[in-house]
Amino acid sequence: MARYRLWPQSGLTLKQREAIWGYLFVALPMIGFVIFAAGPLIASIILSFAQWDLLRDPKWVGFDNWNTLLTLTVKHLPQEIDEATGEPLFLCARERVPQSQAREVEGQIDPRTGKAIECQPRYVRDRDVLPQGYRTALEFSLFNRRYVIGSRDPGFWEGLYNTSYMLLGIPVSMAIALLLAMALNQKIHGKSIYRMLYYLPVVLPIAATSLIWMWVYNPEFGILNYALDQLGLPSDLKWLQDRHLVKPALMIMGIWGGLGYQMLIFLAGLQGIPTQLYEAAKIDGAGMWARFRYVTWPGLTPTTFFLLVTGLIGGFQVFAQPYIMTAGGPYTASTTVVMVIWRNAFRDLQMGYASAQAWTLGVLIMAITLVNFLLARRWVYLETEGART
């Protein structure tokens, strides 16, 4: 092999030569790190202070993007007052009715629809309380008072709200996955088959599974509504076309697609818990619940933590499913925050503003990860610590 030697009389020591090879081997990834990670990371901060459509030269706008994006205002939304009686107004069957009359009308049968009339408080229009340029990002009630959060970019906050709403699927999915993992963590026949069946949706292309689920959710001929009908449940649901159902529908699909991964990770976690602990607990007379509470659960906290953090990081960046299945609709009910950023950047070519949005989301994700890490010290049980006490 001697003829392969590169530097026969170079005067370098063996160690130095080895180090040179080391730098050579990691050179490509380090260049990649600068070009595709560190560089863009810094560039997007700089971009967020500019206005740039890629056609003309970028224009520096200071904190304008950030102000537009992050300035929020919370206003109290009062109930409208009836001019004639001075009473608060209600809306009963699309008619404006003062409070005293509303009490009488409520519950009566509407001759036009044949249904009992319901009365809702009629609030002042949001644009009458919001400063100019602001639109409603979110409305909510607190202590019987109605509030409105105004923003100059309500779309972003709505996207964030929709995304956060859909994140609620993660704990549900994790609970099911844990149950399945515990069922699998016994001497069971066909273990690998079960493992495979549950894991399969995880690896499949989202483009294809999205089409499959669109067909499953089809209101007239889909299998889901048919199944609901067979069970005697309401079956005229327009899953993806109904703004109240579209988020749950996407969550169900998300659970289907992520369950197998969480189950396998939980299974790995369960197998890492020493069996002596269970035997000791049994000898101490611990019942099933006690064994779960004091052995299984503490042993699984690192796994749970890992799944929660990775789930949140992934969940905040959901894009393809709503993009393919609903295009963010109906209206904006399933528009996720990454869809908002994508539109701003690649459809409207607002590179600077979209960068500010992307950084806001990025910081939020990193902050949640960090908070999770800090909280983890309180509830995550590590074996090394346990051994000490």
Binding site: F36, V203, I206, I223
Partner: protein
């Protein structure tokens, strides 16, 4: 004690014995697992059955699980009349080239981080690892501008070239793997006067088959399934990978569910085959990520 005894006896007769209880739990587990697995599979059966129906077959109520008439017409039509086949080939090329490059660079770097001593090794490795925490959405826009300036929009380069520089995740897995191999392995090579590349290539790489297989499977699937990347960079439909091609068909053949399900099946097939045959590498990759903290 005398007062306690009857209570103990009564409770014993009420509860099941240990063996019986375990049997019951096991039975319950089978039921839960099977019902769950069946539910997971329903969308697949639904797709598969639809893809073999004729266009009127999907309107039948109650829905048919076994299509009657049974037809393979949809597969023929979607393969011959649309560009799905082209998307299939495009995806193959993109996935194979980018994954091969990713594996070569990542094994090399992983080997260096695990087995070669050089100054700043841990700092560099830490920097690489830190990129795993950057949400992709943050670097998406500057990366686009970079590729646009390079004239790479509407080419496959943005989908392939970044991976030729390796990926932090793959490098991490490789480093973990090479670190477990015994020290003596390299000695034979060193005595022969082989350089580090020769030691890597002829001694360590052959040992790394399991990790290479794992990376190959994970990489291929990630590229095959990628949607956002091609959506941003690829413009002409003849360059579309299969995922993008499929959703284009969705707008062209709206409501023609028999065709769309046949198309979905074609897009799923390579992944299903890969997954079923190489299942253990998936499972291994999960163990390798070292989630135990």
């Amino acid at each position: 004690m005398t007062t306690l005894r009857p209570v103990v006896r009564a409770s014993r007769s009420l509860t099941l014995g240990n063996r019986e209880r375990e049997l019951l739990i096991k039975l319950l587990s089978y039921v839960v697992l099977s019902v769950g697995a069946f539910t997971m599979l329903v969308p697949f059966f639904w797709m598969l059955s639809t893809s073999f129906k004729d266009p009127h077959g999907i309107f039948k109520m109650p829905p048919q699980w076994i299509p009657d008439p049974f037809t393979t017409e949809n597969y023929v039509k979607i393969w011959e009349k649309t560009d799905l086949a082209r998307g299939f080939v495009n995806s193959m090329i993109i996935a194979v080239v980018s994954t091969a490059g990713e594996i070569f660079t990542s094994t090399l770097a992983g080997y260096a981080f695990a087995r070669i001593r050089f100054k700043g090794r841990n700092v560099l490795f830490g920097l690489l690892l830190s990129t795993m925490m950057i949400p992709g959405v943050v670097t998406m826009i500057p990366a686009f501008i970079l590729f646009k300036n390079l004239g790479w929009i509407d080419t496959w380069y943005p989908l392939i070239v970044p991976l030729l520089f390796g990926s932090s995740f793959a490098i991490f897995l490789c480093r973990q793997f090479f670190a477990t191999l015994p020290e003596e392995l390299a000695d034979a090579g060193k005595v022969d006067g082989a350089n580090q590349f020769q030691i890597y290539w002829s001694i360590f790489l052959p040992q790394a088959k399991p990790i290479i297989a794992t990376l190959a499977v994970l990489g291929f699937i990630a590229r095959w399934n990628d949607y956002l990347g091609p959506l941003i960079y690829v413009r002409s439909s003849d360059k579309y990978p299969i995922a993008l091609m499929l959703t284009t068909l969705n707008t062209m053949y709206e409501r023609q569910w028999t065709l769309l399900m046949a198309g979905s099946m074609i897009a799923l097939l390579p992944i299903i085959i890969l997954f079923v045959t190489l299942q253990r590498y998936f499972i291994e990759s999960i163990a390798l990520t070292g989630i135990k903290g």
